[in-house]
Point group: C2
Chain length 239, copies 2
Amino acid sequence: MLVQRLGHLVRLTPDEQASLRLLEGQRRSYRRGSQILCQGEPASELFIVRDGWLHSSVVLGSGGRQILRFHFRSDLVGGACLAFRESPETVTAVTDVTVSQFSRERIGDLFENHPRIGALLFAISVEERVSLTDRLASIGRTSARARVSALLCELYQRMRLLGLIADGGMQLPLTQEEIGDATGLTAVHVNRMMRALAEDGLIARNGSQVRVLDETRLCAEAQFADRSEADGDWLPRPR
Amino acid sequence: MLVQRLGHLVRLTPDEQASLRLLEGQRRSYRRGSQILCQGEPASELFIVRDGWLHSSVVLGSGGRQILRFHFRSDLVGGACLAFRESPETVTAVTDVTVSQFSRERIGDLFENHPRIGALLFAISVEERVSLTDRLASIGRTSARARVSALLCELYQRMRLLGLIADGGMQLPLTQEEIGDATGLTAVHVNRMMRALAEDGLIARNGSQVRVLDETRLCAEAQFADRSEADGDWLPRPR
DNA sequence: CGCACCTTTGAATGAGATCAAAGATGGTGG
DNA sequence: CCACCATCTTTGATCTCATTCAAAGGTGCG
């Protein structure tokens, strides 16, 4: 599945594809709510999401929690172990999940044997960094309503890329508290904002199902930046 | 200077060092206030800071600006062009600066010829990502006072690593508006927080000079996470 | 010296937090 | 299959931190 993700930018050679598939051997499942990685504990394994949702978060001394990113199918999780001995973040299963697990030395092998894959991994990491900076701008500089809208836009567009949207509706397995932790708001205020968005006809809710009724307006309110396509001209030749 | 930065984790081979130094040929200077990269415009060049401060920021439709990160000597700037045709962020000179400039194809070459350097670049990118997530948690989940403290802690520790601290004092060439744009606050409120920190004996100010009087307490108030040392065990062999 | 920009301070306002409690939902075990 | 309990959502009232607006000092540069 990482094959598809990286293959977005370039056509991978059979050899590259085979090496990537090697990463996806060891498969594990976790129950919703379980912690796959824990802030402050040693970590040297990475994960590729096969199925389900996870999120990574940082917990502050005061008890506050900031959710950094939600992870879906084909996302690479736990990359922090490539720069830190102890995990700087906690990774939690939002739903029941299945992941592929492998040790960070495999990443070193990839860089060595398939420089272009290394470069692609770098490009993906840059993409996620930009996604983080967009969130930062959203939380730092926009209203509660815009922040909730922005999160919905982000999730909606990412799920659409994965083909997880059925006629405008997406399954959001998140509590309002989790949405609050992702947007820097309280659960109570998230509730009010969601209700307001629904009343204004931007979205419709039905249990955990959310339909985006007016994506254009939602993106506008969110000040959501739709990032241009990636571009692999700079990549080294495949080996 | 990138040599020193990457050489932190491992001992670079002479060959690796030479290749890195090739990046630092083309040198350019910019006046304080000038924009080196501009959000939305095509970009395919990267920069290494030689001297001076820059920051990268995102500007929102409403006019709000979020400063994402300050860049010092030996920082690599503009990596976003490795994943996006158009720059997702603006890079501005905070002071007069000198940078080395090179095209993104050079990065491709590095990945190809020196896999370990590719991996090191990846590790650095992970480090900066974590720094961003710490900022995100700070802005999303802590008080104004803590946010300002956290920014001061971050800058203080980074400058110390670069040897830019003279007996507890650092030169902060930032306006309070810039500090506000970095912390998600208004300039007015930044002013009040700085004053409060000074009154409480955590810092002392004198023009643009800031001395940290009680680093322990400042870090505690900031809920500042001092990240553990990096670790290069997973890196591929040098070529 | 004078102008532009920055810092400082005060007062009024407002967005979002907090506190509290009443519905809704869904998973589990009897 | 149903009842119960935990968890989540919804709503109202109040409070607080940060913003906004305004104007008076500072600072440094041309």
